[in-house]
């Protein structure tokens, strides 16, 4: 699943650690999501959407999985 997490984080000038703290996850998990190696759970995806104040579908693109 593709996502725009890195671009959204960069736009706000947040480090991975800063975003991780807002999301209550480790920095390594933020990195894994950004690089597409880990798909977050639905609750975490909602937290991400809330942190960026955007709908989930504008952050995550299921691509072929949809």
């Amino acid at each position: 699943m593709k996502n725009r997490l890195r671009q959204l984080r960069a736009k706000r000038d947040w480090s991975q650690a800063a975003l991780a703290e807002r999301l209550d996850v480790s920095r390594q998990t933020v990195n894994a999501i950004e690089t597409g190696r880990y798909d977050p759970s639905l609750p975490l995806a909602f937290r991400i959407a809330r942190v960026f104040d955007l709908p989930i579908e504008s952050i995550f693109d299921p691509g072929d999985q949809a």
């Binding site: 996850v25 920095r27 998990t29 990195n31």
Partner: protein, 141 residues
Amino acid sequence: MYISFREKSLGLLIVSLVAVFGGYFIHALNHVTERVQAGQIVLFASAIVVLVLIQIIGHVVLAVASLRELSAKIQTDERDTMVRLKGSRASSLVLAVGVFLSLCVGVAGSGNFAFVHVLLAFWVVAQVTDYATQLVLYRRG
């Protein structure tokens, strides 16, 4: 190359298990008997004590070297849980095969030496599989 505390810890667990039980099995295979002897039980107990000591001391050293990382607010999250579950799944498959094979050895052979050591070997391999699977998943990102 950044290596997290958790990855170092898993590396320590794998190396200590392989080193301690590798030594134990080399000794056991050079002293095969029909039944497990009292001396072998003492050796096994000693191996467990050495393993625990290595892991405690090793983790203290690793923790001291990773104080900054360990002072972070978040230590575990849903990805860690997923990684642990995948490790356990791989490990349980190996252990299931080991239990089946050791039962076959127990039924076919005489004495308990082979049965006990096949079961013990598969337990060690299952543990290593668990830790190695986790380590691979963490290294992938």
